[in-house]
């Protein structure tokens, strides 16, 4: 167990192993670890960003939804107003039409009445004349008494 030249051989072997480890083992492993750490950090940052963007999009979506709902409501109420107006217009028009028809009917009725009255007057005059003819027989000359008959007719 005393010291001998093994010491020198072992020291050289040790130096070689250290050199090998420093040169070929340590750098690739630590690089891989650091690279992965960076990737993970980047990934987490990206995820955070994505989460923020999602929240932002969610907010935008809510705002757009609200706008759309408002617009739909406006359109609906405008339509309702339009419909009411149409109904009112139609009602007014119908009223006017009805009045017009009524007026026309009234006028026609008045005309008919007038006509009937005329005819009645004619009939009455004719009847009166016929009656008078029957009463007076030949005493009354239609021509001679036409004037008087016409006056009578006008008085009826």
């Amino acid at each position: 167990m005393n010291l001998n030249a093994t010491l020198l051989v072992q020291a050289l072997s040790f130096a070689f192993l250290i050199w090998f480890c420093v040169k070929f083992i340590w750098p690739p492993l630590t690089n891989a670890i650091e690279e992965r750490n960076r990737k993970i950090a980047d990934g987490l940052a990206e995820a955070e960003k994505g989460k923020l963007a999602l929240a932002e999009g969610e907010k935008q979506k809510a705002a757009m939804l609200k706008d759309a709902r408002d617009a739909a409501g406006e359109i609906k109420s405008a339509n309702e107003k339009q419909a009411l107006k149409l109904i009112d217009d139609a009602k007014a028009q119908a009223k006017v039409e009805a009045e017009r028809i009524i007026t026309a009917a009234h006028a026609q009725i008045a005309q008919e009445q007038q006509k009937a009255r005329e005819q009645l007057r004619e009939h009455v005059a004719a009847l009166a004349v016929a009656g008078a003819e029957k009463i007076l027989k030949k005493e009354i000359d239609a021509k001679a008494h036409g004037e008087m008959l016409n006056q009578l007719k006008a008085q009826l």
């Binding site: 167990m1 005393n2 010291l3 001998n4 030249a5 093994t6 010491l7 020198l8 051989v9 072992q10 020291a11 072997s13 040790f14 130096a15 192993l17 250290i18 090998f20 480890c21 420093v22 070929f24 083992i25 340590w26 690739p28 492993l29 630590t30 690089n31 891989a32 670890i33 690279e35 992965r36 990737k39």
Partner: protein, 272 residues
């Protein structure tokens, strides 16, 4: 398994002796071929696993193997970060190398010693010690490498002048009469670090190995008598318990070696 030894002392010394090859005139110029071969194999297996993953490392979703390797890397990186706030491009992989290599050394301690001895003996390699961290040369090789790195980083951080200035003026003061005491204390402090570092790992692993051997000896007296059966069962149970305890020890010792190395090198960057 443990038969073939004429005495307990032969069993112990067989398991505690390194397979030596003498280079040149011997003495110091001897190498423990088992320690070197085992540490090379363990280094290739341990760091090779890291290298294979590092080659195909992806920054996307990691597989199970990559996750495990990255867990180790981050564990070492955080440990080093705690003791050294500066640039870790060198210190952290150094710590990882130490942790993996020492852990692999110590892990061999969990291999049943008699199996290792039987297998290596069968291929003609007697005295094969499978645990490099029970060889003082291996632990001192690491701790003194760390020591030289400490000196190197001291020079780098403070400059040669600053380092020598500190040797003579810290910790007592800059008075010329205190130069010699300062220097002596600094030399002791500098040398105490690598010696304690190497000794701690070696001592823990060597003692652990020794306990396994004593329990193995206890197993050797197992027989079909009552006492022999008690001894056999006790040896088996205690070996199991000691192995479980050692799972903690081997990780802990690797961790301590790593942290102290990082602390020593981090201290080299500090100014007094």
């Amino acid at each position: 398994m443990a038969s073939g030894y004429s005495s307990p002392s032969e069993y112990i010394s067989h398991h505690l002796t390194n397979l030596k090859v003498t280079v040149g005139e011997g003495g110091f110029w001897t190498v423990n071929i088992d320690t070197i071969v085992m540490s090379w194999i363990l280094g290739v297996v341990g760091l090779g696993a890291f290298w294979l993953v590092a080659r195909t490392a992806t920054s996307g979703v990691p597989g199970r193997m990559q996750s495990f390797i990255e867990m180790m890397v981050e564990f070492v990186d955080n440990t080093v970060k705690d003791v050294f706030p500066g640039d870790r491009k060198f210190l952290a992989p150094l710590a990882l190398t130490i942790f993996v290599w020492v852990f692999m050394f110590n892990f061999m301690d969990l291999l049943p010693i008699d199996w290792v001895a039987t297998i290596t003996g069968a291929v003609g390699l007697h005295n094969w010690k499978a645990v490099p961290s029970t060889d003082l040369s291996a632990t001192f090789a690491m701790s003194f490498t760390v020591f030289f790195l400490t000196i190197f980083f001291s020079f780098k951080a403070k400059g040669a002048g600053g380092f020598i200035h500190e040797l003579f003026t810290a910790p007592f003061g800059a008075h010329p009469a205190l130069w010699i005491p300062n220097l002596l204390l600094n030399i002791i402090e500098l040398l105490a670090k690598p010696i304690s570092l190497g000794m701690r790992l070696f001592g823990n692993m060597y003692a652990g190995e020794l306990v396994f051997m004593l329990l193995g000896l206890m197993g050797m007296i197992a027989s079909f008598s009552i006492g022999g059966m008690v001894a056999g069962v006790a040896a088996g149970a205690l070996t199991w318990a000691w192995a479980v305890f050692h799972i903690l020890i081997i990780v802990l010792q690797a961790f301590i070696f790593m942290v102290l190395s990082a602390v020593y090198i981090a201290m080299a960057h500090e100014h007094h």
